[in-house]
Assembly symmetry: C3
Homo-oligomer: 338 residues x 3
């Protein structure tokens, strides 16, 4: 869509410095922009790239002027460019379409505006909300439900009885509701503990590719609203993840652990079972969390400790050779003295 | 199914304290139980929850009495509730059904009682054992075999020539028999080493979602009987995993490593290639195993060490700042003394 | 295929010590070989196994003679056996076949010699190169392209607009081109940053099972030629991986990080976003990389450090209890002296 900067600026809360009559039809980064795109400069260090960019106009929150460019001053350049994309580059919604090659039983409830791609399988009594999208080779199990406006890509498995809220995005290969991993020893054999609960996912959740969220033994594994889960994350049975928490790629959360809202769990973090992570905690990449974490804590390492404390200890550790030599020297001097 | 405690108790080896005439029709945890459910108290710390529970009867191995409840004293409350579930809540087995939408060649051998869901693909000369279940979008490769009573969920790939024993459970997205990862440098290029072996999985094995078990270069990657493998685990080519070993989520085992029987491999553990882990070894979460591990060892850390030894060293490490100061003070005092 | 050692030797650059008239029809390891197979001894420690092997002839680069065997002396026994396999055991290429059960729109361009298995889905305007193979339940998105001679196994998702070069191998469950993981806070909510770029994969690339390579926010996530990526690897949006780099299982590379050519990234390694790893760097398993890494560096640990330096510091760390005692003793002696 073509739009003048004069029309665009109020939609972004932007102040124009330059030519408000410029017409743009796309949003692009500095390198990729053409004369028809608005671009953005996210920090002063990108000044040289900004000057070289073909974009006639730049969103900025950190730079006053770039020579030859019309500037749109905003509170957050990143938020502004995302909004500009949604305004300028909104894709025409494809016509909803239910493929005749999909497998849909009579008992399934399919709302208006739904797209179901080739070879998707919908279970008995499953429910698919308005305007949602079910990708190729995706299975929605018996009695499972998908909220309105949710997009599920290809090869996703939603096991029987699980529910997914509205406006979610679930990427390919993700598995929701497989059995939690639970066995008990019984006379030397491993007895499987039945997993008769389910998974309940809130609204506005995004889940990356090949993630695994297991169903509860009893009750539900619960993912709150607006939780964002990256690729290859493992969430075990009976976990609860609070609203707006972000879990980065390859992290693993063991069974029955409760994570508060607004937390950031770094990539490849491991958290043991049955612990509580307070609201707003930030856990550094690869950390190993052996117990409860207080709200607002900023920790890292295995076992995890406050970041500054750990970094200091590590620095001392790398100087140990010297310390051992100094102690040896003291011992010798002391002995000689005697 | 409705059952009196009097009928149930001998099946669980339980001693009743209270009313043997109570009828139950389900098993549930303390919070979820209704008046028709038997529940269980796994430790004295759940006393308050037990008292509040609606369940009229409780399985216990740790508590004598909960006021107002009939108690069923057992050796293991957890094993007893699992058994109670299999007695009371056994699902009526669905009628076996081979979907006309599945792709099944004439050369495949499909035993009695098999269910093959929509859009499953069975390879040439593949063999599917009695009463087994093949999920949607699952591929059983040419010449592969699946034992009796095995359940394979959706989107599983079993590559050509691999074999899976009886009474196994394989969750969605798991890949069995992809090529091992092996390349050699040859005049500066990377030459792929053909992987002409297969994967052989024993009986009673459970594998979680999105796990990967690679085929052998020669011979077989071997998974023993009753091995339990969690989500997102990686098992490289030519590994051998002994009977009853448990491998927790996101662990990775490099090529040709042999793990004994009855081991517990923690979540996110990494084990290098070509080493041997003795029977009954327990390896803590996130540990990195650079060499052989003795039978029965209990180790953790990267590189892994005996747990108590590592924890002690870590505690000293966190006190290094103080130690450096003390050595500095000694050095100054000593110099002054001279 | 039957071949005499006399015919085989020049193809492998081998010098025969023994009977050049021996005919072999297969390649196998020492244990698995029959009288009709050529085998190989990769190191002197396998001498006993070599003597017991049924193979009449052995490739070697480390052993002069094994009693009773004809030896073929080569520069690299491993490279030679791989080449011997491609000569002797080349599989007869299956007839190309496009399944009538696959979903292929008129707008897709399918070259000569392509095999498309049952229930594969090809997108609008997608392009599939000569002699390539598309497995069951694999989706090639709208406008995506696959080069000549590439083999894509089952349940792979290639999102719209991504491109894969020629002679690649992509194993089951791998997802190429899902959205990068990017959100910004905007008035307390998490705003999704649209990911309008794609993934471009070079030629000769192999990718294992259940790996994830995310599409770029703008531009392309780039995987160079001959890159080898193992199972369960995560490569975030806008990463660039140089030619011939090897990334071992379960490693994760965060957004916009650039890895040079000829690098080896160990299993379970984590690399933060926006850093540069120089050509030929080798990063040990489970390492955590918090910043740039110089070309040719050999590092490990979290945070990563030069291998020898880290190993030394760890060794000192395990002796800290002793050091604390020695310092305490010095302090006491010194006080007594005063």
């Amino acid at each position: 869509m073509d739009i003048t900067l004069k029309e665009l600026a109020p939609l972004l809360g932007a102040e124009i410095k330059g030519d408000p009559g410029i017409i743009v039809s796309g949003v692009a980064d500095l390198q990729g922009a053409t004369k028809n795109d608005i671009s953005f400069i996210l920090a002063p260090k990108y000044m040289a790239a900004a000057e070289k960019s073909q974009a006639p106009a730049l969103l900025t929150d950190s730079v006053e002027i770039v020579s030859g460019k019309t500037m749109l001053k905003v509170k957050s350049a990143k938020a502004a460019y995302v909004k500009a994309m949604s305004i300028i580059m909104a894709k025409p919604k494809k016509q909803p379409r239910i493929s005749p090659k999909a497998s849909i039983p009579a008992s399934a409830r399919i709302a208006q505006g739904v797209t179901i791609e080739d070879f998707a399988v919908i279970g008995d009594n499953a429910s698919i909300g308005e305007n949602s999208h079910i990708g190729t080779f995706t299975t929605i199990g018996d009695g499972a439900s998908v909220g309105a406006g949710t997009v599920i890509y290809s090869n996703v498995c939603v096991y029987a009885g699980c529910s997914i809220g509205g406006d979610c995005i679930i990427h390919s290969g993700t598995v929701i509701g497989a059995d939690g991993f639970s066995f008990i020893e019984d006379n030397g054999a491993l007895l499987k503990v039945p997993q008769i609960g389910n998974v309940k996912i809130g609204s506005g959740v995004e889940i990356g590719s090949n993630a695994c969220i297991d169903r509860a033994a009893f009750g539900s594994t619960k993912i709150g609203n607006h939780v964002k889960i990256d690729n290859l994350v493992h969430i075990a049975h009976n976990c609860e993840i609070g609203d707006g928490t972000i879990i980065i790629a390859q992290a693993g959360i063991a069974g029955s652990t409760k994570i508060g809202s607004g937390c950031i769990i770094g990539g490849q973090v491991g958290i043991v079972d049955h612990v509580t992570i307070g609201d707003g905690a930030k856990i550094g990449s690869q950390a190993g969390i052996p117990g409860n974490v207080e709200a607002g804590a900023v920790i890292t390492g295995t076992p995890a400790r406050p970041v500054m404390q750990l970094r200091k200890a590590e620095a001392y550790m790398m100087k140990l050779e010297d310390l051992f030599k100094r102690v040896k020297a003291l011992e010798i001097s002391f002995k000689e003295k005697k």
